[in-house]
Amino acid sequence: MTPPQSRTHSLEVVDLQLGYGDREVIESLDLVIPPGRMTAIVGPNACGKSTLLRSMSRLLAPKRGQVLLDGEQVHRLPAKEVARTLGLLPQSPIAPEGITVADLVGRGRHPHQSIFSRWSKDDDIAVAAALQATETVDLADRPVDELSGGQRQRVWIAMSLAQQTDLLLLDEPTTFLDVSHQVEVLDLLTDLNRVRGTTVVMVLHDLNMAARYADHLIALSDGRLHAAGPPDQVLTVDMIRTVFGLESRVIVDPTSGQPLMLPMGRHHRNDSSTDRPADVASSERWAPSPSTRGEDDRRGH
Amino acid sequence: MTVLDHRTEPDVAVLRRPARARAAWLLVAVGVLLVVMLASVAIGSRAVSWSEVWAALGGAQDTLGEAAVSKRIPRTLLAVLVGAALALAGAVMQGVTRNPLADPGILGVNMGASLAVVIGIAYFQMTSPTSFIWVAIAGSAASAVFVYAVGSLGRGGATPLKLALAGAASSAAFASLVSGVVLGRNDIAGGVTSWQIGGVGGATYEKLGYMVPFLAVGFVICVLSARGLNSLALGDELAAGLGQNVAVTRAVAAFGAVVLCGASTAIAGPIAFVGLVVPHACRMLFGADHRWVLPMSAVIGAALLTAGDVVGRVIARPQEIDVGIITAFLGAPVFIYIVRRQKVREL
């Protein structure tokens, strides 16, 4: 699991306040993104996840506090310099009409080029490597408009890869994808993390996918940090109740050993209360190792 | 909190109470309209005394003042009719397209009517006002169908942006065709400029007479389709689920709106934004029920256009500014306000 590369950059957020106009989205936030790891940010709709990503990638200036990239304020650094270290894939990027896959991926080379520099061999190799890594080589000359949702998402990730950043931020990379494509995209990001040591930060809606793929989970609630830490410490019944207002059970995922959340609507609570010992017992039958505790209301730090 | 646990009857009085308030508002609006109409006959470039106004309203034309007032009467009536027609048409179009920016001017319907009339004059030797009205209605219908069809192609149906763009672009295209026709024909150039700007200055009883039957048909169709529009507001699927024939409702209501636009444009020229502003104001005051919004729009639209005409007569004395310009200056800011209020994703 330890990344083979040590070229990792640090990204942290200190006393960050964010908002649009008078509207405050993030009140005050302190975060450290663990370098070389996969981090997932979870939280209910409109809790400021995307806003946080935008600010971490220099797109939105903080109202107070700072985002530190290798200890330097990201909003004071030149845009292109940041873009060579840190990439962001927004939730709904726009493909210009008729553009081919190779051209779109090539757009990811922008931060490495200047006004006068021409397209170089390095650029070609970076594009090729990105196509290769995302298995989109065969699509290279096809127009992006014609691709399926899953293919298109891989192409966008390829564009971010061509940017060759050690930090990659992704805003809901799996929305609008069916479950097999979701897994495909997350597997791809995991490859990237393990092979190249890229630090991946992604906003995910699906708590179980987040717990399964992330090394580090950040739960936001109402513009504040609710919990951060390894998934088995963050994804708890208590967290889900406080952050999402949802009753649930958390068991151990038999395939990954990570916590697995089972939502319980009004009709599935029966007569049992959520913290019944029997539930723990039943979940522990699934547990592959006694070391991971399924249902435990430990709150993260 | 289970919804179904509430077995008690809902409080019906709550639903009825606003009706009384709405009726009161409607009376207020009618009152305002009457005041504005009176102002419209009383105010003009020549100052007249109240006694002359009353005498002229009684039919006297003995003094110069009375004569001036009696000339203002058809003009006032035209403003009232056109204002009511355009506001009603706008309200119906917004309902039919479920689109807050629908307006006969913005959607290019008025320009379509103008193009049709100009072509009629230039190539078919049209001269009578009735033929103008028929051709204008045909032109508005064709352009309404065209713009809506174009605007609703592709993903997401007729979004406000696509519809407005289709309308604006078609307007621009129609306008350049109009100038293409006109610039080649010096003989008709003078008569045609009045098709570029809307006004009620040229009103006569004769013109009113040509227009009224068309407007009457349009008014009736539009008001009768109020209930259908309420269903449409819920979305096509839901409306169909409620037993509404979506296509027929939409076609009938749109036809009514098009007749109103065509007839008004044929007599008064293209007047934009009345159909946008008034229904919005009405919805803010009275909620979304078309059974109230439509009649209220008609009354307030009549008052607005009449008042606009009075303002246009007063602010640039001794010249007159056509009411079409006044409404554009009144309406464009409201349009921008509405656009700014929308969320980007909904545009």
């Binding site: 894939l89 190799i125 | 400029t193």
Partner: protein, 358 residues
């Protein structure tokens, strides 16, 4: 060679090299096509320019034309070619290029082929100001130009400010532009309704866009504006292309989106306004150049230069048609208007059907 270090497996390295080669090949293919198309467009502009100098009521041979350009005195030709045809021909190319540059800048920036200055009020602003200046203030040509340019920039600023709300969204800007345009068009219509007969004719022709009676005093300001503004725009070309990916994506790739946008808007509006002041808003040239250029060049690289060439060619050809194809002489704007309208409608249909980026 960072990539090679990053990829651990040698087998993959070799494969990447092969892919890189094929990527490079297909990119080279597209860029050859681009260069050929640009060269062809450039040659066409020059050929048509030569034709406009030779052809007219009197035909002058190429050698006579060349002698006039070199400053020799040739009977008749010195006046007809030097004073009438040359400024007109140069203005056709310059104005067409300005409209092409300006239009495609807005279309690229707002990610919508319909978002050209003709639609979002810029041209209407310059037009209304010029009509006002001609009819109400009876200003001289230069003053009219200044008026039109100030108004064009003012309207651009107004539209931009009004659409600012957590940043500028392209869709909002387009709609607000449409609203402002409607207001300005009514001003123009009012001004024209107040015009005296003679003024009216001049103003109407001007509004349709016309090259009739162009002199060097019309043409020179446009050329000066181009030497200043075109380089500014070309420096932004790559950033502008990047903004097509959406503001956030472009920003994350190191483009300073707001800054790019403001520079591009000022440069584009300047070009449009100068051209408009010189010969009126020639209908739909700004609108059509970009999409036509995109059609023939493909999507590789910036569309600025190809669009400018297409714009120049459009205006040249339309002006030739307007002068000689019919019994009556039509101003160039009527020709581009009548030809452009169907294409515009086709464009809306196609854009919406494809889903576009709306």
């Amino acid at each position: 060679m960072e990539v090679l270090e990053a990829v651990t497996d040698d087998r993959i390295d070799r494969r990447v090299d092969a892919i890189a080669e094929s990527v490079a090949r297909s990119r080279a293919r597209r860029s050859v096509r681009r260069r050929v198309v640009i060269a062809l467009l450039g040659v066409s502009v020059i050929v048509v320019f030569a034709i406009t100098l030779m052809v007219g009521n009197t035909f002058y041979s190429p050698s006579e034309v060349v002698r006039v350009i070199l400053g020799h005195e040739v009977d008749g030709a010195t006046f007809t070619v030097g004073r009438l045809r040359l400024p007109r021909g140069v203005l056709a190319v310059a104005a067409g290029a300005c409209f092409g540059f300006g239009g495609v800048t807005f279309q690229t920036m707002l990610r919508n082929p319909l978002a050209s200055p003709d639609i979002i009020g810029i041209t209407s602003g310059a037009g209304a100001a010029a009509a006002f200046a001609i009819v109400m203030l009876s200003l001289s040509e230069t003053q009219v130009s200044i008026f039109a340019i100030a108004a064009g920039l003012g309207v651009a600023l107004l539209v931009y400010t009004l659409s600012f709300k957590d940043g500028v969204a392209g869709t909002r800007l387009i709609l607000i532009g449409i609203g402002i345009a409607a207001m300005l068009n009514s001003v123009t219509a009012y001004v024209l309704s107040q015009a005296a007969e003679w003024d009216l004719q001049q103003a109407t022709r001007w509004l349709a866009g016309s090259l009739n009676g162009s002199t060097w005093s019309d043409t020179v300001p446009v050329l000066v504006a181009m030497t200043v503004l075109v380089p500014v725009l070309l420096i932004q070309a790559r950033n502008l292309t990047m903004t097509q990916l959406g503001d956030d994506t472009a920003g994350a790739l190191g483009v300073r989106v707001e800054r790019t946008r403001i520079i591009a808007i000022v440069a584009a509006v300047g070009l449009i306004a100068f051209a408009t002041a010189a010969c009126g808003p020639i209908a739909f040239v700004a609108f059509l150049s970009g999409p036509i250029a995109a059609r023939i060049v493909g999507t590789t690289g910036s569309l600025l230069i190809p669009s400018a060439l297409v714009g120049a060619l459009l205006v040249q050809v339309a002006d030739l048609c307007g002068q000689f194809a019919f019994d009556t002489r039509y101003p160039v704007g009527v020709i581009t208007g009548v030809l452009g309208a169907p294409y515009l409608i086709y464009l809306i249909v196609r854009t919406n059907r494809a889903g576009g980026s709306l």
